[in-house]
Symmetry: C2
Subunit: 465 residues, 2 copies
């Protein structure tokens, strides 16, 4: 409550004539000392690391809809309860489940050798004995799209489409099309299978899996990602000018409808009418690593920050921590959440699902009356290296359906410079996490929650970005 | 110290009186301008890269004794002939061949999950359906060795024995014992299988394979290396204090006696009585990467340097380039070479088998009368960052049997700081090679050959180190 009053005073102080008449840059919005104290204390956090270490060690991979994801939910309920959260529960839903099978690739000619690859989520299977065909090599989506169907029909299509490294992850949307839509397009044009260059920025022999989509009416074909070195190897072989024959064995399958679920925990607020502050990440992971950066870190960071607010005294707004299920295979947990809770009043929604590197930027989508909240966030986050971005916030697969209902958004952006070195690979393990960077994340989220959950302003609906 | 005194005397003999009378450091030995010219021209070399790129693309992996290694020999003969070398030939020998099979590891309890591993060379097989047993976890060789047999009998032994990073690779000898002798010791003490922490310095999920030895009379058991993250995962699970049950599937096998061979090429010298300058590396590789740093780079560097000397005019001594076979599985090519050629007069032997990072040091084992050669090497190599080491040269599996016969040695040492990040992993591919560092290697070897092959001094036998 004390924080509440201070925050209100701060907001009015901003409009004093002396300050307002100054030339830019404006004086920073003031935040309560308690916010600074909570933020700095979080720089020594151990809760987030313990969650990541515990979940990745005691459960490991937790592919959506599998018994491993179910074990993860039980683990989550136990841990969130032990941390002192209220209303800890699982909200189940059912989903079709895809599981990986055997997978191998072999160049039969001109230069016999094995290549490393991983099936994409929703890939169809080859015959168990494999499928052999000539490879049609396209260095980019554009080359694939402009090629005649005759160059594709009956072939295994290869698409390069190398993704550049970017801090904000924008390369993923632009270059990920080879994975998102390449397989369906190849199927429609008569390809018997497709292998893509991994949507990754590393040069290690880890293939990057991920979901692809075959829209209704498009026949799924076997679809896989080569590691980047293997993709470049295939292009080097192609550069010799001889036809390439490849044998693929991919035996994934849809195993039927199974249970998945979201795990929910709360820090009840003193003012239920002020709306829920929704935070979280996803509990499921891809099946080859242990999902440390994707997304044990996200659930750990958000829960650790919420616990710090809880332990400091009851906030004004209820903080709801959601560890979503089945994000990787299509955001089913996020959709189920919005369906179940879309009629509740949410003040803001924020998701951590971009690894565990340091947060460098925040962006918001707030209603006009709540804009001072963003000014205070700017003040509170600057000391730990987080600047205000110029874009409109509102990013995240899991909170997406909730944002679409008009919920205000606050994004805390991790640096993605190295994220796609590891994303969706067997190498997504705890070794990839820098404990100091993880603590900086907890500090940023703690400061954000301290400001937002206690903001005196009304935080009403917005137009989604 | 003795060497430094001689170096000073040499310097005075080769330099003006004014320079010779100065206090240390002594004036450098002088080298012919042609040496500098050849060295610097090699900094733009493309031959070595083309060999690495060609062999790793057009052949790929080439496990000793397999048809892939045979294809590599054919490739080698064609390439060495095309480069203009004389007396290009294959010298075959026969060998017992080990081949990898299926391999998987699974923690059954307390926390079910798969682990990543690779069989060690000469590992025995589990039953095809796998072998399940309790794991005895030892963080080090010392802990394993001091444990009672009762803690080992009937168990799958795990040995940690983490190897530190060193520039000179000395950690490998000291900490590699877990691989070299751990499996045989575990067998002798009643273990049913062994998994070790990879002998590697990285934290990626690549297991590091390599040969282990079961001496005559010791029953081979299934033996494999976990990737470093998986080894640390197993240790984290063990730290929870509950018994660990693991299921192992490893189905490698000895496939019988097959042909392997050395590929030899020469630059004939003008003075056959002056002895052969032997250089080379090994043509075979482990089976999971394409053997780019181990050891396509070594054969490429030495051949590229020899070609530069050949193209510059006939050297005094014959330079013999040997691309040895079957190094990885026990140095069979090196032994076969010494058996076939040990009676020929060799002036020096030098091997490149430590990757493709920059050469930082050279060390020699030369007879007293030839020590001025080392002084001139010091002068010739200093401009490209290569300093004279204080140790005695004479290192290398392939040249080892020839050195044992008393051949003088000149070692050009690559920096091994990063070498064991990739060594014996699927990630040993061309992506790991820095073209500029590879060119520096060629320059160093070119300078060495220019000095040694044309040295006027007699280079007689030495006492092996």
């Amino acid at each position: 409550m004390k924080r509440f009053v201070l925050a209100a005073l701060t907001a009015s102080a901003l409009s004093t004539p002396t300050l307002a008449q100054r030339t830019p840059p404006p004086a920073p919005a003031q935040v309560a000392p308690e916010v600074d104290r909570l933020r700095d204390a979080a720089l020594t956090d151990t809760v987030a690391w313990d969650i990541v270490e515990g979940l990745t060690t005691e459960v490991g991979q937790r592919l959506a809809g599998t018994e491993a994801e179910a074990r993860a939910r039980q683990w989550a309920v136990a841990r969130l309860t032990a941390l002192g959260f209220k209303n800890v529960r699982i909200e189940p839903y059912r989903m079709p489940v895809w599981e990986r099978g055997a997978e191998s690739a072999e160049v039969i000619s001109p230069f016999p050798q094995k290549l490393t690859l991983a099936a994409l989520g929703h890939s169809a299977a080859t015959p168990a004995a494999g499928l052999t065909a000539e490879v049609a090599v396209f260095p980019s989506m554009a080359a694939f799209q402009s090629a005649p169907d005759s160059a594709i029909k009956g072939r295994i299509v290869y698409i390069g489409n190398a993704m550049p490294r970017t801090q904000d992850g924008s390369g993923y949307g632009a270059y990920g099309t080879a994975r998102f839509t390449g397989p369906a397009l190849a199927s429609q044009r008569g390809a018997v299978a497709i292998v893509i260059r991994s949507i990754g920025t590393d040069h290690h022999r880890f293939p990057h899996t991920g979901t692809t989509n075959f829209p209704v009416g498009v026949t799924p074909i076997p679809a896989a990602a080569l590691s980047v070195p293997d993709a470049e190897q295939l292009e080097r072989i192609a550069a010799r000018g001889k036809p390439i024959r490849m044998k693929l064995v991919l035996t994934p399958r849809m195993v039927g409808t199974r249970e998945s679920g979201n795990v929910i925990a709360e820090v009840p607020g003193s003012d239920p009418s002020a709306g829920i502050v929704l935070v979280g990440g996803h509990l499921d992971s891809w099946d080859q690593g242990t999902g440390a950066i994707d997304d044990a870190s996200g659930i750990a960071i958000t829960a650790a920050a919420a616990k710090r607010i809880m332990d400091a005294g009851q906030p004004r707004r209820t903080i709801r921590v959601v560890w979503f299920g089945a994000e990787e295979v299509g955001g089913l947990g996020g959709a189920a959440y919005a369906k179940a809770h879309g009629n509740e009043r949410h003040a803001t929604a924020s998701e951590s699902d971009f690894g565990a590197d340091r947060i460098w930027r925040f962006e918001v989508n707030l209603p006009a009356g709540a804009r001072p909240v963003a000014d205070r966030l700017q003040t509170a986050l600057a000391p730990i290296g987080v600047a205000r971005g110029s874009g409109l916030g509102g990013d995240g697969t899991d909170i997406g359906p909730t944002l679409k209902l008009g919920t205000a958004a606050i994004d805390l952006n991790q640096s993605g410079w190295d994220y796609f070195d590891t994303h969706h690979t067997p190498d997504d393990v705890i070794d990839r996490i820098d404990p100091a960077a993880l603590r900086q994340n907890v500090a940023a989220w703690t400061a954000m929650l301290a400001v937002v959950a206690n903001a005196p302003e009304e935080i009403g609906p917005v137009t989604p970005r």
